[in-house]
C-alpha cells in the first residue's frame, strides 16, 4: 500500500470518526436536555392516515382550521419542530405568539412558550412569511393528551 493511500485512509478514518462523534455528541446533548422518553408514535405514524378535519378547539381563529397539527419534536429559542406523518415541519415562534392550552371540557386557558414541551400535541395557526417557506405561529394550541 502506498504512503499516499495510507494517508488518505487515515484521513478518511478521521472523517468517519468525526461523523460518528458529532452524531453521538448531538444525540447526547439532545437526550441530556430533553430526556430519553421518545414521543409516542406520530398521530398516525408513517403509513397511517394523516389527521383529517382538524378543528381549532375554539376561539383562536374562528372559521379556520389549524395550519399544522402534530407533536412537538424539538424546541429552540425561536422555533419548534412539529412532527407530522409527512415529516418534520419547522414553525417559527416570536414574542407575539400566543399559546393556549385546551383543558378537559374544551375550556381554553392562556399558557406561554415555556409551557411547550417535547411530545405535546399542538395545533398551530400562523402565516407564511415573505419567503413562502417559513411558517410563523400566531397561536399555538396545546391539545389535550390522549386519553
Amino acid at each position: 500500500m502506498s504512503t499516499e493511500r495510507k494517508l488518505l485512509i487515515a484521513f478518511g478514518a478521521i472523517i468517519i470518526a468525526g461523523i460518528i462523534a458529532i452524531g453521538a455528541f448531538s444525540l447526547g446533548v439532545y437526550v441530556g436536555e430533553q430526556g430519553w422518553t421518545l414521543p409516542p408514535p406520530s398521530m398516525a405514524g408513517p403509513g397511517g392516515k394523516p389527521p383529517t378535519g382538524g378543528q381549532p378547539p375554539a376561539g383562536p381563529a374562528p372559521g379556520r382550521e389549524p395550519d399544522l397539527i402534530g407533536q412537538i419534536q424539538s424546541l429552540a429559542d425561536d422555533s419548534l419542530t412539529v412532527r407530522t406523518p409527512q415529516g418534520p415541519r419547522l414553525v417559527m415562534v416570536t414574542e407575539e405568539t400566543r399559546v393556549l392550552r385546551v383543558a378537559e371540557g374544551r375550556k381554553e386557558e392562556e399558557a406561554s412558550l415555556e409551557d411547550l414541551q417535547r411530545g405535546m400535541g399542538v395545533a398551530v395557526f400562523g402565516s407564511f412569511g415573505d419567503d413562502g417557506r417559513t411558517l410563523t405561529a400566531k397561536t399555538v394550541v396545546i391539545l389535550p393528551a390522549p386519553r
Binding site: I9, M43, G48, P50, T52, G63, R64, L68, Q71, T134
Partner: protein, 670 residues
C-alpha cells in the same frame, strides 16, 4: 467493445426493470392534477407550460424539460408535470443502480436492493408524485455522478483518451445543467474537484484540453440561466419582483443570493438539535439498521475504494452541513440528495456483507471437502435467501409508505376550481393568494384560459385600486378577507382592496387537502359583501324537517335543491340549526364514506353577526351554500350525512364524530 456490451446487457435489463417497477408504483400513486403537497407545486406545474420564470432560483432546465412533458397526451397539463417527476424519479433510481454496479464491481443483488430501497423511501417517493424539482434533480445528480465514475474508469485505460475526454465533458455539462434543477448542487463542486484530482491530477498539465473542455461544458450548462433576464419581465410575484433578475445584481440575488434568511440560520448551540432532527429524518428513510449499514459501508468504501469514498463522503457532508442549518418549513425534501448519497453507502455495505457471506460459504465448503457442485448449490441458496430478505425489506417499505404517498385520489383542488368557474357570475372579480401560492387559481387562466371575463387581480403585475375593483363587478375570494380574520402576509390580497368591515360569505365549499402534513389551504369561495346574509332567523320552514340533536346543536331541517348530482359537481344545501348548548362546533357533510366539506357552524361569521345584529337567542342559524362533490365518489345512490365532530386529539387516527344524522339519498351520476 463487443465484450463490454455483452457484459453490460443484463445490467441494462435490470436497470430497465427497476425503472419500470418504480414508475409503475409512482404512477399508481400519482396526483391526478394540482396539489397542495408542496408550497411551490402548482407554480411548477404551470410555469413550464407557459415557458415563464419560476420562483428563485429560476429552474430553467426544469422549465424546459417540463415543457417537453406538457406534450405527452395524458391527463391535463398538471398531470403531465406530475408524470415528469415520476418518470425522472424512476430514471434516477435506474441510474442509481448503474452507479452501484460501477462501485461494487457488478454486485447486482446489492445494487438493485439499493436502488429500490431509495426509490420507495418516504421523502423521495413523496416528491415523485407531484410537480416538484426534487425528483428531476435526483436524476440530474445521479446522471452527473454516473458520468464522473465512467470517466474515472476510462482514465485507467490509456487507450481510450477520446472516450475519457468525452466522458469528462459530458460530466461537466451534466453538472452545469443540474444547477437548473436545484442550485444546491453547487455544493458538490469541492467533492467533484477533489475526486478528479485524486483520480488524475496529472491531467492538469498533461492534457489541459480535457479539463478546459470540461470547464467550457460546465459554463455551457450554466448558460441556461440567461433564461432569467430573458423572462424577468414575466414575473408577477411582488416578492420575486424585489429581486427581479433583470440586472447582474438581480441575477445574483435571484440565484446564488436567494433566500439569505434561510441559510446558516441557526446559532451554534442549536446545531446538535438540528443534527438529531436530520438523524430522525434519516431513520425515517432507512431505519436504524439502515443507518448502521450505511456507516459500515462508509468504512468499507474507505478501505476498498478510497477515492470514491472521498467523492461521496464530501458530497454528503457538504449537503448535510448546509441543510442542517437551513431554516424552512418543509425541511425533509431538501435532504433527498443526502439520502441518495447515504443509500450509496448503505448499498456498498450490503454488497460487502454479501461478498463476505459468499467467501465464508466457499471456504466452508472447501474445508468440508465437497466438490464444486455442492459449493455452487450452497452459493445459490445463499443468494436466494439474501434476495428474499432484500425483496421482503423493499416490499415492507412500499407497504409502510404507500398510504402516506398515495395521492391518486387527491382531486380536491380541481373539483373545487371547476365548480368555482361555473358558479362565478359574469364579469366578476376573483381574489386569492398571490405569488407561488396563487397558481391553483392562475393555472386555469394561464393554461386553459378559463373564464376570461373573470378578473384575477393577483395574477397581474400591477394591482387595481379598491375603486377599480368595485367598479369591475361582484367580488369573490378564495381567502377570507374580512371580520378581523384576514390571514395577512405578503401573499394575501392587499388589505385595502376591499372595505375592512366587509363580510366574507361562503358560497362554495370544497374538500380539504388531506395529504400535505399541513392543512394547505381552505377550499372555500367567499362572496365579499358589505352586508351579511340573514344568518340567524326567528322562524324557518325547511323543506325537510330533521329535529336531530348533534352535540350542543339541533339540526332542525334542511333544503336540498336537487337529489340528482354528478361526481365532481356540487350540491346546493341549506342547513337549519338551533343552539341547545351554544359553542363552537365543526360540521362535516359526507356522501357515503367520502367527506364533502368541513366548516365551523355559521362559517365563522356567527360571533360577529350576533354582536352586530343581536338576533333572537332561540333563533335558527341558516347555512346556505354549495358543497363540492369529489370526483372520486362512486356513481349510484349515496347517503348524505351531516355530523358534528369534536376537536382533534393526538394519538388518535382522524377525528370521531360526536354524532351524525343521515339526511337523504343522493343519486350520483358518473
Amino acid at each position: 467493445m463487443k465484450a463490454s456490451l455483452r457484459r453490460s446487457w443484463p445490467d441494462f435489463l435490470i436497470a430497465s426493470a427497476i425503472f419500470a417497477v418504480a414508475l409503475a408504483v409512482y404512477n399508481a400513486t400519482l396526483t391526478p392534477s394540482l396539489s397542495y403537497r408542496s408550497p411551490d407545486g402548482n407554480e411548477l406545474a404551470t410555469i413550464p407550460y407557459v415557458l415563464g420564470l419560476a420562483h428563485s432560483t429560476g429552474y430553467p432546465l426544469y422549465t424546459w424539460l417540463g415543457k417537453l412533458f406538457t406534450f405527452v397526451p395524458v391527463g391535463d397539463v398538471a398531470h403531465r408535470m406530475n408524470l415528469m417527476s415520476a418518470v425522472m424519479g424512476a430514471a434516477g433510481v435506474a441510474l442509481l443502480y448503474a452507479i452501484m454496479i460501477l462501485l461494487t464491481q457488478g454486485r447486482r443483488l446489492a445494487s438493485a436492493f439499493t436502488a429500490l430501497l431509495f426509490a420507495f423511501s418516504l421523502a423521495f417517493w413523496s416528491q415523485t408524485v407531484i410537480a416538484e424539482v426534487y425528483a428531476p434533480n435526483v436524476f440530474m445528480v445521479t446522471l452527473t455522478v454516473w458520468l464522473l465514475l465512467l470517466w474515472a474508469r476510462a482514465v485507467k485505460k490509456p487507450s481510450s483518451r477520446l472516450a475519457e475526454a468525452a466522458l469528462f465533458c459530458a460530466f461537466a455539462l451534466s453538472y452545469g445543467l443540474s444547477l437548473g434543477t436545484h442550485m444546491s448542487n453547487l455544493g458538490f463542486a469541492p467533492a467533484f474537484a477533489i475526486f478528479v484530482l485524486l483520480v488524475d491530477w496529472r491531467m492538469l498539465y498533461r492534457r489541459p484540453w480535457v479539463w478546459l473542455g470540461g470547464a467550457l461544458c460546465f459554463i455551457l450548462g450554466c448558460l441556461q440561466f440567461l433564461w432569467l433576464p430573458y423572462k424577468a419581465s414575466t414575473l408577477n410575484d411582488p416578492i420575486m419582483l424585489r429581486n427581479a433578475p433583470a440586472t447582474l445584481i438581480g441575477i445574483y440575488r435571484y440565484t446564488l443570493g436567494a433566500f439569505p434568511q434561510f441559510k446558516f440560520a441557526f446559532p451554534i448551540q442549536s446545531i446538535p438539535d438540528r443534527i438529531v432532527l436530520y438523524l430522525y429524518m434519516l431513520r425515517q428513510q432507512f431505519g436504524l439498521w439502515g443507518i448502521l449499514l450505511g456507516l459500515y459501508g462508509m468504512g468499507e468504501m474507505l478501505a476498498r475504494a478510497t477515492k470514491r469514498f472521498y467523492l461521496f463522503v464530501l458530497m454528503y457532508l457538504a449537503h448535510v452541513f448546509f441543510f442542517v442549518q437551513y431554516r424552512v418549513f418543509d425541511l425533509d425534501v431538501f435532504f433527498i440528495p443526502a439520502h441518495l448519497l447515504f443509500a450509496i453507502f448503505l448499498g456498498y455495505g450490503a454488497a460487502q456483507l454479501i461478498t463476505y457471506a459468499e467467501s465464508t460459504v466457499r471456504s466452508w465448503r472447501s474445508t468440508g471437502g465437497s466438490g464444486g457442485k455442492g459449493r455452487r448449490l450452497a452459493l445459490l441458496a445463499l443468494n436466494a435467501a439474501l434476495a428474499l430478505v432484500m425483496a421482503l425489506t423493499v416490499v415492507g417499505e412500499v407497504r409502510a409508505n404507500w398510504e402516506t404517498n398515495d395521492c391518486s385520489d387527491d382531486t380536491a383542488i380541481n373539483d373545487f376550481y371547476e365548480n368555482v368557474f361555473e358558479v362565478l357570475p359574469e364579469d366578476s372579480v376573483l381574489l386569492g393568494p398571490g405569488g407561488v401560492f396563487g397558481y391553483d387559481m392562475f393555472y386555469w387562466r394561464l393554461v386553459y384560459n378559463v373564464r376570461p371575463d373573470v378578473l384575477m387581480p393577483m395574477m397581474a403585475r400591477s394591482r387595481p385600486s379598491r375603486q377599480e375593483l368595485a367598479a369591475a363587478g361582484p367580488v369573490f375570494t378564495t381567502q377570507r378577507l374580512t371580520g378581523g380574520q384576514r390571514r395577512g402576509g405578503p401573499w394575501s390580497p392587499p388589505p385595502d382592496l376591499v372595505p375592512d368591515d366587509a363580510w366574507s360569505i361562503p358560497v362554495l365549499l370544497g374538500g380539504s387537502d388531506q395529504t400535505s402534513g399541513h392543512r394547505g389551504r381552505e377550499l372555500t369561495l367567499y362572496r365579499v359583501s358589505e352586508t351579511p346574509p340573514e344568518l340567524v332567523v326567528a322562524q324557518a320552514q325547511p323543506q325537510h324537517a330533521v329535529g336531530a340533536r348533534l352535540g350542543g346543536w339541533e339540526l332542525v331541517g334542511y333544503d336540498l335543491e336537487d337529489e340528482e348530482a354528478r361526481a365532481g359537481g356540487r350540491l346546493h344545501l341549506t342547513l337549519y340549526w338551533r343552539a341547545v348548548e351554544p359553542g363552537a362546533a365543526l360540521i362535516v357533510t359526507a356522501l357515503g364514506d367520502t367527506p364533502l366539506e368541513t366548516h365551523e357552524i355559521g362559517f365563522g361569521n356567527l360571533p360577529r353577526y350576533v354582536q352586530e345584529y343581536h338576533p333572537p337567542r332561540d333563533g335558527i342559524v341558516v347555512e346556505d351554500y354549495w358543497a363540492v362533490i369529489p370526483s372520486q365518489v362512486p356513481a349510484g345512490a349515496q347517503t348524505l350525512t351531516v355530523a358534528l365532530r369534536e376537536p382533534l386529539r393526538p394519538g388518535r387516527e382522524g377525528v370521531s364524530p360526536i354524532a351524525s344524522v343521515e339526511l337523504t339519498t343522493v343519486n350520483l351520476q358518473p
